[in-house]
């Protein structure tokens, strides 16, 4: 069963649709469950296709279901939001909500199918790696997941909330580091972080406190008064990651976070992310560094030519081989070695 936080859209769909009101309690419940039992139930995406898309339910049934959930160790406070949810045809909060659930995501640029019905299921608390050769559709996929690029088809849900139908709720629990998009780099580092916090509606004290923590963690303390445009590429990445985390999201989607970041900083950022994942947060990051993914991630997805080739826990995907070998094997890079015999006969 799948919880759904898309109140507005679902309400419009009527009683046959899957719907609850947007309620913080739901997410809280899911989170407690996840932190208590971080289940690593990741299947290879192809297998994991036919998940129950919830049947229509009557309100009475819902109430019963909600009651039964409450009787287990899930604490759902009878808040106003929950009362509203009970009035509407609603669904109970369940522990098995994925942090990220992607179904059948596609994007076509002109005649070229950049992303071809990608599926991805990431349980909360996972440190998830996303790899693929250049032009495989990684950035496009991540942009669609984070609500920056409108997909042609498919559904993206973040902790049950549809990114494209109910962005306000979904994006509240999402932190984003996009690749190759500009930052407002005429702000100083401090201004940039404050901008990010204020955009998320955090109050001044919270922002100041979190900036303090973030700059300590990311080693940006002495660069706060400089313009972001004067930062080195690695520092820009670091401050952008810091900005992505400032509102303490449940899911962090980071596109190439360690590109041109020095190893020391990368190690401290990874340490921060690991701690975050241990506390129930979810990280999805793409990288070209197979070694890094293999060392740090619990699970990995491999994409090539817009198709998801494999996705699941590291051990399952690797199947005893190193990620690099497996990656080249799956992405079919070996063929390029053939041909080009002229390169062996030198000009002189």
């Amino acid at each position: 069963m799948e919880s759904d936080r898309d109140a507005p859209s679902a309400a419009r769909k009527g009683p046959s649709g899957r719907s609850t009101a947007a309620r913080p309690g739901a997410a809280r419940g899911a989170r407690t469950a996840n932190t208590r039992a971080p289940e690593k139930k990741v299947k290879v995406a192809a297998v994991d296709e036919v998940e129950t898309i919830a049947e229509p339910e009557t309100p009475t049934k819902v109430e019963k279901a909600a009651g039964s959930t409450a009787s287990t160790d899930l604490v759902v406070k009878p808040s106003k939001a929950v009362k509203q949810a009970r009035k509407a045809p609603a669904q109970p909060v369940t522990a098995s909500v994925s942090a990220l659930s992607v179904r059948n995501l596609s994007k076509r640029f002109g005649g070229h199918l950049a992303v071809d019905s990608v599926d991805l299921e990431i349980p909360a608390g996972t440190f998830y790696g996303f790899v693929g050769p250049n032009g495989a559709g990684k950035t496009t996929t991540l942009a669609m997941i984070t609500g920056l690029l409108r997909p042609d088809s498919g559904v993206v849900r973040i902790h049950g909330a549809d990114v494209w139908r109910n962005p306000a709720v979904a994006k509240r629990s999402l932190g984003v580091l996009p690749d190759q998009l500009r930052l407002f780099d005429r702000l100083t580092g401090a201004e940039f972080l404050h901008h990010a916090g204020a955009l998320r509606g955090l109050d001044r004290e919270t922002i100041a406190r979190r900036i303090d923590d973030l700059v300590a963690g990311f080693g940006l303390r002495h660069s706060l008064d400089r313009f972001v445009s004067d930062y080195s590429a690695g520092m820009v990445k670091k401050i952008a990651i810091a900005a992505a985390m400032i509102h303490s999201p449940r899911l962090l989607v980071l596109d190439e976070p360690f590109e041109s970041v020095d190893p020391v900083s990368a190690a401290s950022v990874i340490a921060i992310l690991k701690k975050y994942a241990e506390a129930g947060g979810t990280v999805l990051l793409s990288s070209h560094s197979m070694g890094l993914i293999e060392r740090t991630c619990d699970a990995v997805a491999i994409i090539a030519d817009g198709r998801m080739l494999a996705a699941g826990p590291l051990a399952e995907v690797l199947d005893g081989e190193s990620l690099e070998t497996r990656f080249v094997e799956l992405a079919g890079g070996a063929t390029a070695v053939e041909g080009m015999e002229w390169l062996q006969s030198y000009a002189d």
Binding site: R150, R182, L202, R204
Partner: protein, 537 residues
């Protein structure tokens, strides 16, 4: 224990001399003080020669000036308190004994100078007047001490406000100079008479030039100041007016009481319980973000304000604006159109360019940076309002200042409402229209970091039709106000200027609200497309 504290104060003072630079300044100050005392004493003995009225005025004004100096000199010079009341608070003193101790320790220090100064009148007065002067002297010292304490407290606060401090220095200097000039004016005739006859030719014009300053009004006002009360009591005694003497002494005591109250208030402020220092937290909020609330609107607005100041692309628009009146007026002058007509045009053009200039393509100016708005899913309305705030902040003063200027140049104040109406319509209407256009029809703009006048290096539309279209729309919003103004200028009788005002403000407000709503809704719907557009260009 009092002795202990006096020794402490002395030690603190002496320690100041251990630093060579401070020692030099302090020695200089001591010399200056000695000079002042000598000057005052000799001046006092010489003032006996003056006629009664002049003597009264000179002595009282000089005395009031000295008392004022007891307040102003510490205010300007002091940057910290040697013996801070808080330091005594720690030892469990009661507030009242802290007050007394501080006042007493003032004796050890520069304020000691007040004692010889307060004794100066003794050189002047005889008999009964001298007795009154003896009575007044301790009060003068006490008044000076309290004033000095207040001055020190304010001075040490002013350390954090350099701008206010500069103003106060200026005021203090002006007051001192004004007082000295008034005294000099009164002394001038007597001094001139002392000089040899050959000099009269040069001194006479000077003396007569100072005559207005000798007017009784000025002198009476200055001598009636409360700070001069203890200085004028002996003078009144010498004139034999006992009632006035009592009145003076009463006023003087009242002044001291008021000063005491003020000082008690500053003491209370200094001894107040403090929790953490909010100043530091506030300082952590950088730049424009400190001035605007920590909300999505505030974030967008603060970022916009910062960019208007920092980004050359925005700044170029601001630099161009002042050139507009010069160029238009020059062009019309060459063509031969009278100033009364041509003077009406620069302000509307400035306002139009301000409200339209960068705002109608503001999203494109962000380039792909707009993703942060999208990732935070801020409401389109918030985005629109945040972006328009800097333009409003600049446009409203321009309109308010420019309207009277335009009417003045035009030569008829009656035109003011019409100008205000047209400009308001152009400002608000321009912002409203631009808010919709920038969310719906972005066109490639100069990229961040490029030179402001560099054309964007992209294929496709350059936005010419968007520019023309949006300007036409803004002019349409202002057209009722413009039409009414033209009718007024053609000389048709009727309340046309007021019609122009109402039509302009009404249409402007309407379009502004419409722009926020419609533009906001468009931003909500099209934000991913706007980002995609920015990625492609």
């Amino acid at each position: 224990m009092i002795g202990e504290l006096l020794r402490l104060k002395l030690r603190l003072l002496m320690n100041g001399f251990r630093e060579p630079r401070t020692a030099v300044w302090a020695s200089f100050g001591i010399l200056l003080a000695a000079g002042t005392v000598v000057l005052l004493w000799t001046g006092a003995s010489m003032a006996a020669e003056l006629d009664a009225v002049t003597r009264h005025r000179v002595v009282v004004v000089a005395g009031a000036l000295v008392s004022l100096g007891a307040f102003f000199v510490p205010l300007v010079v002091a940057r910290s308190q040697l013996l801070h009341p808080r330091a005594l608070w720690l030892f469990g003193f009661r507030p009242l004994s802290i007050a007394g101790t501080l006042l007493l320790t003032t004796l050890i220090g520069p304020a000691l100078l007040l004692v010889p100064i307060a004794l100066a009148p003794l050189w002047l007065w005889q008999d009964g007047a001298a007795a009154t002067a003896v009575l007044a002297a301790p009060f003068i010292v006490l008044e000076g001490f309290i004033a000095a304490r207040i001055g020190v407290v304010l001075g040490s606060v002013l350390r954090y406000r350099p701008a206010v401090n500069a103003v106060i220095r200026l005021v203090a200097a002006l007051l001192l100079i004004a007082g000295l000039v008034v005294i000099a004016a009164h002394l001038a005739p007597t001094l001139a008479a002392l000089l040899p006859g050959a000099w009269w030719r040069t001194t006479l014009p000077l003396v007569s030039a100072l005559a207005p300053l000798r007017s009784p009004v000025i002198a009476d006002t200055l001598t009636a100041l409360p700070l001069g009360a203890f200085w004028r009591a002996p003078s009144h005694q010498a004139a034999g007016d006992a009632a006035l003497v009592q009145q003076d002494l009463g006023l003087g005591v009242l002044t001291i009481l008021v000063l005491l109250l003020v000082w008690a208030a500053t003491l209370g402020f200094q001894l107040r319980p403090t929790r953490r220092r909010p100043r530091e937290r506030a300082a952590l909020v950088p730049g424009w973000f400190r001035r605007l609330p920590s909300t999505p609107v505030g974030a967008v607005a603060a970022r916009s304000f910062t960019y208007w100041v920092r980004d050359p692309r925005y700044r170029a628009a601001l630099v161009l604006l002042p050139a507009i009146p010069v160029v238009t007026l020059l062009a019309f002058w060459i063509v031969g159109i009278p100033l009364s007509v041509s003077s009406l045009l620069p302000l509307p053009i400035i306002v139009l360019l301000l409200s339209w200039g960068t705002l109608h393509n503001d999203v494109a100016y962000d380039s792909t940076g707009v993703w942060s708005h999208l990732a935070a899913q801020i409401r389109g309305v918030d985005d629109r309002i945040g972006r328009m705030l800097p333009v409003l902040a600049m446009g409203v003063p321009v309109v308010l200042i420019g309207t009277p200027l335009t009417a003045w140049a035009h030569g008829d104040w009656f035109i003011t409402p019409a100008v205000l109406g047209v400009c308001t319509a152009l400002l608000l209407g321009g912002i409203g229209v631009s808010s919709i256009i920038s969310a719906r029809f972005p066109y490639p703009a100069t990229r961040p970091g490029d030179r402001p006048f560099q054309q964007p290096q992209v294929p496709g539309a350059s936005g010419g039709s968007t520019q023309t279209g949006s300007i036409v729309l803004i002019l349409l919003v202002a057209s009722p106000a413009i039409a009414a103004s033209v009718v007024h200028l053609l000389g048709v009788p009727g309340p046309w200027v007021w019609i122009a005002l109402v039509a302009g403000v009404g249409a402007g407000l309407l379009v502004l609200l419409l722009g926020i709503r419609v533009g906001g809704a468009m931003f909500d719907r099209r934000a991913p497309e706007l980002l995609e557009f920015a990625v492609r260009h």
